[in-house]
Symmetry: C2
Subunit: 307 residues, 2 copies
């Protein structure tokens, strides 16, 4: 049971109950752990407002459907449950994760159809991957991102060993994070983020073998909108196509997109400084437009904190 | 705390304590769950004897080293801990799983180097995937097994979504389990098992993109040994090479190997009956030799059950 509190705290929703995060546990026999047989989504709360919650919930349900998982809530019930969890936590800047696992099969069975799927959610304080005024130093990893033919990347999943090994590789080489490639050496994604480059008036991002990120989608929409509003100052065209490692290194600007951190400038790739080595003007413009959206009621929902 | 018991029961080792399996839980924030950042091994106990425990422990430690994970036990201490866990459980036919997870990073960090790795183990009753006198009906899945360039398959890991989706696909097509392929369409492995075929006097299994299974290794040793002992009756030569889907369907005999179930005959692939449709003579011979090893002190260790 939760104790009444006055300071913000991390909370979780487990077995239909709200509990302190320290009590949020899953059976080690759940296939969500033993087979990484699960899908999830992460949304965030900024200045007490839930950002793009409906889009995250839509993607989460689409992932469940593809994995033949289900939870006993409608989308509207889930939204209410998450809003209540955040309200109870008191956190005004937070990550909110929703998870469905396969559960455990019937005793003696190994048939996933006998499992009772499990629902979990948690809210924890928002953390910056890097301070927002800094640029990321990325190492291009030899590690290949798990291909779509093995695991559908549009289903948000916990198959991260390639990303974790890429991260270790990056640290070994003095970088802060990694960009993984496909079997042709084209840039795919990093641990938890999509990658964009800007060259001339074009904004490039790959469309295959990656998560269809929500921040990624917002950036594409913002780029179109900014181009229409200021056709001479910023006529940035969005191109969906492969990014070679060479193109990545020769970019005018580059950035990573993620719910965790939003739009993060990439200012160095291996030993190559990108552009001026500082956050570029188009990246800055997109970042500002992105954070401006967080206070607009079209994109964000007020959390009903207790008075 | 464990209650004294007289009937065999599943147990687990969590946070340095032996607990009932129902209490065996992991934090939902552990990266072993959230990033499937973990390695494990599964050994089995048969007729009160631990089979090939040292080999499983060796592979487990090798996997930890590759993933930069560690536990505070020597191999000898781990063996003792597992033997004691099984002894306390009273189970005489059991699976024993040992797990190391990354753990949780320091508050506010996403750096895996700040994590305290966690150790878990559990013992549960032995279950047959199929009754040992039956053959498996396998469907060849379109799902590709996660390639080595993404996740090193010699590190036993929980990246199973491809295998789980293959399993669903198999059920949809009326089969019992699935064989996954690589990008060239060659047969790799199924959910938790390696695959062998016999054609003429040759035993084929792939050597790339698969777990280097311990049952797989034993089968190769047994095949060599049986060939030497009875060169005219069974001069089976082991060939490490790719198995095409055609070769799989045209095999004289085929079988799956796994700690869970040992050597399991495959008697149907999609709509094609393999050989006579019954467990073949060489498969039977290998199976008998495999189970005979379980009572030999060279390969198995007596569990010190309380008197």
């Amino acid at each position: 049971m939760l104790k009444p509190h006055t300071t913000p705290q991390s909370l979780a929703y487990v077995d239909g109950e709200l509990v302190a995060i320290s009590e949020a546990k899953i059976s080690i026999l759940d296939w969500g752990f033993l087979h990484s047989d699960a899908t999830y989504d992460v949304s965030h709360v900024w200045q007490g407002r839930f950002f793009c919650l409906d889009e995250h919930i839509d993607r989460y349900y689409a992932g469940m459907e593809k994995l033949r998982l289900s939870i006993p809530y409608t989308k509207a019930q889930l939204a209410k449950l998450l809003l209540n969890m955040v309200a109870q936590s008191g956190l005004r800047h937070a990550y909110v994760e929703m998870i469905t696992t396969r559960g455990q099969p019937s005793p003696g069975s190994r048939d996933p159809r006998t499992c009772t799927n499990q629902f979990f959610a948690f809210v924890v304080p928002f953390v910056w991957i890097i301070p927002p005024e800094e640029g990321l130093h990325i190492a291009i990893s030899k590690q290949q991102r798990i291909p779509s033919a093995s695991v559908d990347p549009t289903i948000k999943n916990y198959h991260w060993l390639d990303l974790v090994m890429g991260q270790f590789d990056a640290y070994d080489r003095g970088a802060q994070s990694a960009a993984l490639v496909d079997e042709n050496g084209n840039i795919k994604e990093g641990p938890g983020f999509n990658i964009f480059i800007i060259k001339g008036n074009q904004l490039f991002t790959t469309n295959t073998g990656v998560l269809q990120g929500i921040t990624r989608k917002i950036v594409m929409q913002l780029a179109q909108k900014l181009a229409l509003e200021a056709p001479h100052a910023l006529n940035t065209k969005v191109v969906l196509g492969e990014i070679s490692t060479d193109a990545f290194r020769r970019a005018d600007e580059a950035f990573a997109t993620s719910t965790a951190g939003g739009i993060m400038a990439i200012t160095q790739v291996d030993d190559t400084v990108i552009g001026t080595g500082r956050i570029g003007p188009l990246t800055t413009q997109l970042k500002e437009a992105y954070w401006d959206m967080h206070t607009q009621s079209k994109y964000s929902l007020e959390v009903p904190y207790p008075k």
